[in-house]
């Protein structure tokens, strides 16, 4: 039997399988891909699946959709990157107080490309927050949150909270001194909130101190609860985007044109942006890997706590420079920004005629960037009281 014959048989067989699938699968299956944001145009379920796909690909985007609308897609791409690297990390990570730290040491030094997967996950988490905020800023300053899109703005805020919860729960999983004491301090601060604080902190901690019980809770939230919530809300977010479309321009163009075709033009442009984003994250992961510190030790305060996530950077800078009240006020400012669409429902979208909204937005976003820069270099020490008796300084090995 010649090679050509074998090749022909294989292609024939594959074509057979393909036509079997086409003949027996509803085009409605494409709705799943559409729900999760991989297809934009409507699905004609009366057509066979392949023709429905082609029809959907011919969909044209609004003519004014530009590069600035890529921010949401970038955030989604980073989310998918975190899902993939997260699943790979979960293969080797062991969520127990005894094994978490050694398993990370193993991932970083023993597993092929484990170091890269891990640092892609770490940097992806930071860049995701920035991408989400940039996306939010774009929507905010363009006034795209105004009716009828205010529901989607609120879902977006919910997704931002999910992203922060992802980071906050994932932060502890490294189970080194910095992670342990950052979470301890955050939960202590949470416990200081009136009425609900103590209960919430206790619920999250699951123990009088941050312990294996906390690690299990955070792990379960990080890899089971939050991913499902995020997927559901993301799908809904995309649904709402399709339902209301991209917000129209403030001054409608005279001759807007037919709009950009989804395939291949839009997909090629998305591919270019995606490649660039992934290359940047990979570069950061390679050049600035997250240091592996000392294993978490509940009885030993570290000399300094290192921050490895943009939200922690910002929070620490806020607490360091403005105190707890400053942190609280900045959080309230962010919440005000998030809830602004509930009151700011006028049709005016020109930023110059929305001075209050613009001021809140500028202060929040510039403040966030500023405190991020300030927080990155900050090396704080735990706020717990230092040990009473100073230990004598020892040279390794001592002097004979």
């Amino acid at each position: 039997m010649s090679m050509g014959r074998i090749w022909r048989d294989i292609t024939q067989w594959l074509a057979q399988v393909g036509s079997d699938i086409k003949a027996s699968t509803d085009a409605g299956l494409l709705g799943v891909a559409r729900f999760f944001g991989f297809l934009y145009g409507p699905i004609d379920t009366s057509l066979p699946i392949d023709e429905a796909l082609q029809k959907s690909l011919r969909f044209r985007l609004p003519p004014h959709a530009g590069w600035r609308h890529a921010l949401g897609g970038i955030a989604y791409l980073l989310f998918l990157l975190l899902v993939v690297t997260g699943v790979l990390l979960a293969v080797y990570f062991r969520p127990s107080a005894q094994e978490a730290f050694p398993s990370i040491q193993h991932i970083v030094s023993g597993v092929t490309l484990g170091w890269l997967i891990r640092d892609l996950h770490v940097w992806g988490a930071s860049i995701l927050v920035l991408a989400v905020l940039a996306h939010m800023g774009q929507v905010f300053f363009a006034g795209a949150y105004k009716p009828p899109r205010e529901t989607n703005w609120l879902i977006g805020i919910l997704l931002l909270f999910l992203v922060i919860s992802f980071g906050a729960t994932g932060y502890l999983l490294a189970w080194d001194q910095s992670a342990y004491w950052t979470v301890t301090e955050s939960l202590n601060a949470l416990a200081d909130l009136p009425i609900v604080g103590g209960m919430a902190a206790g619920l999250l901690r699951g123990d009088p101190i941050v312990s294996g019980a906390t690690l299990s809770r955070f792990f379960a939230a990080h890899v089971i609860l939050l991913p499902w919530l995020a997927l559901g809300f993301l799908g809904f977010h995309f649904t709402m985007v399709r339902r209301h479309g991209v917000a129209p321009l403030r001054q409608p163009q005279a001759n807007p044109g037919p709009g950009r075709q989804f395939f291949p033009n839009h997909l090629l442009r998305s591919f270019m942006v995606g490649m660039l984003v992934l290359a940047v994250v990979t570069t950061l992961a390679i050049l600035a890997p997250r240091p592996v510190g000392d294993a978490a030790h509940p009885g030993e305060l570290p000399d300094a706590i290192l921050s490895t996530w943009v939200v922690v950077d910002v929070s620490r800078a806020l607490v360091h420079y403005l105190g707890r009240w400053g942190f609280g006020l900045f959080t309230l400012l962010g919440l005000g920004l998030a809830l602004l669409p509930l009151v700011d429902r006028g049709p005016e979208r020109e930023i110059r005629r929305r001075p209050v909204a613009a001021a809140i937005g500028v202060i929040f976003f510039l403040g966030f960037l500023g405190f991020w820069m300030a927080g990155r270099g900050l090396r704080t020490v735990p706020t717990a009281p230092p040990p009473a008796v100073e230990q004598p300084a020892t040279v390794p090995g001592g002097k004979p």
Partner: protein, 402 residues
């Protein structure tokens, strides 16, 4: 009801605390009430000893002269105090029940203090109550006691820091100050390490005397067992036994005890051995080797830290480091018996382990650097992908417009 009232009355009028001496029945307190508070805190009060047990007189009487009648002692003099305390404390049959020794008075007779007081009747010398107080006699493990380890240096210093008193006997007065800053003083006073000696650790307590030249090495060896043994088998130990060298004090201080730093070894040898002599060159060699081993060990420690920061598991390396550290600590013995062969062996052990650990760290460092090479394919494919997409996009757009 009346029973309850009676109970309340009894409870209200019952003596408060553990006052042993009750003025209503004990005559001494009619006049000497001021001594009661001091005495009640002490262990004698706890054991039911009363004023008249030491001072005599008649506690049933409330007025002079009857109260001071009979076998009245009053305030005993220094010499009499020794005998008075000895009536109980030298009696094994009385002391056995408390687990106390009964040889203090006998020991005291052998001490410089005892010789001055009991033989020369020199009242400058202390008696029992100068160190232990007359009335507030606390257990030695009571932190308020004058003989609690932390307080001993202060207690001795009450006389030994008195310049005019010590001038009479030609004694220095800076011992306490030196001790406070010495390795022993720091261990005891700062680190609360009660294994560290106070004045008593080396001089004895009741039998206090400075150790003689031939005794010094034995005194230090009681705690510093392994270096003491090593010192004994070396050439310096021989000299010390012959009375030619003040034992450990040849190199170390007495009250200002301190380690000789590795970099000061040869300089210490210069005290007795002129530079250029075989003994001095041995010291120089010792200094070189110890300094080198010390540097090797430090390098191993930082290499392990580097390995940990690269995310490597360092259990094996830490185990090997402990082996190196054990060898390093044994060099201390070599410094005291001057066995050069053993020195070679130990420093070689430290060096070889340090080399291995550093090599592992160097490999990890190199690997970390190699990670950067990934940037080349990543950016090559990214830029290639973007350029190709751009070209394809342009072609499509031109075709679509056309």
């Amino acid at each position: 009801m009346s029973a309850l009232l009676a109970l309340v009355t009894v409870l209200l009028t019952a003596p408060q605390g553990t006052a042993v001496l009750d003025s209503s029945v004990y005559g001494c307190l009619t006049c000497h009430a001021d001594k009661r508070a001091a005495f009640d805190q002490g262990v004698h009060a706890e054991r039911g000893i009363k004023c008249h047990d030491c001072h005599g007189g008649d506690p049933a009487a409330v007025a002079l002269p009857a109260a001071h009648g009979g076998r009245f002692v009053g305030a005993p003099g220094k010499v009499a105090t020794v005998a008075l305390c000895g009536t109980c404390h030298s009696n094994p049959n009385k002391m056995r029940q408390y687990g106390l020794r009964s040889g203090q008075v006998a020991e005291f007779r052998t001490s410089r203090h005892g010789i001055l007081l009991l033989e020369k009747h020199n009242e400058d010398a202390p008696t029992c109550t100068n160190c232990h107080d007359a009335h507030t006699i606390l257990r030695p493990d009571d932190a308020r006691s004058t003989v609690y380890p932390n307080n001993i240096a202060v207690t001795c210093g009450r006389c030994h820091e008195d310049k005019s008193l010590m001038a009479k006997y030609g004694l220095p007065t800076d011992q306490v100050q030196q001790f406070n800053q010495s390795a022993h003083g720091v261990a005891l006073l700062r680190d609360q390490n009660f294994a560290a000696p106070t004045c008593l650790g080396c001089h004895g307590s009741h039998s206090a005397l400075p150790p003689t030249i031939t005794e010094i090495a034995n005194v230090c060896s009681r705690c510093h067992v392994s270096v003491g043994t090593a010192f004994g088998r070396g050439p310096h130990g021989q000299a010390a036994r012959a009375g030619k060298l003040a034992g450990c004090l040849g190199c170390h201080g007495n009250h200002d005890t301190e380690r000789v730093p590795a970099t000061q070894i040869a300089a210490t040898c210069t005290k007795c051995h002129a530079p250029g002599t075989p003994a001095h060159s041995l010291g120089t060699k010792l200094q070189e080797d110890v300094t080198q081993a010390s540097a090797d060990l430090r390098a191993a420690a930082s290499a392990i830290e580097a390995l940990a920061s690269f995310g490597q598991q360092t259990g094996d390396m830490k185990f090997r480091y402990q082996t190196a550290r054990t060898a390093y600590l044994q060099i201390t013995e070599v410094q005291h018996d001057l066995n050069l062969e053993r020195l070679e062996e130990l420093t070689r052990q430290v060096r070889s382990i340090s080399k291995d650990v550093r090599a592992a760290a160097a490999v990890a460092e190199e690997q970390k650097w190699e990670h950067r090479l990934w940037l080349v394919p990543v950016w090559f494919f990214t830029l290639a992908g973007i350029s190709l997409s751009w070209l394809t996009l342009r072609r499509f757009e031109r075709k679509q417009v056309g």
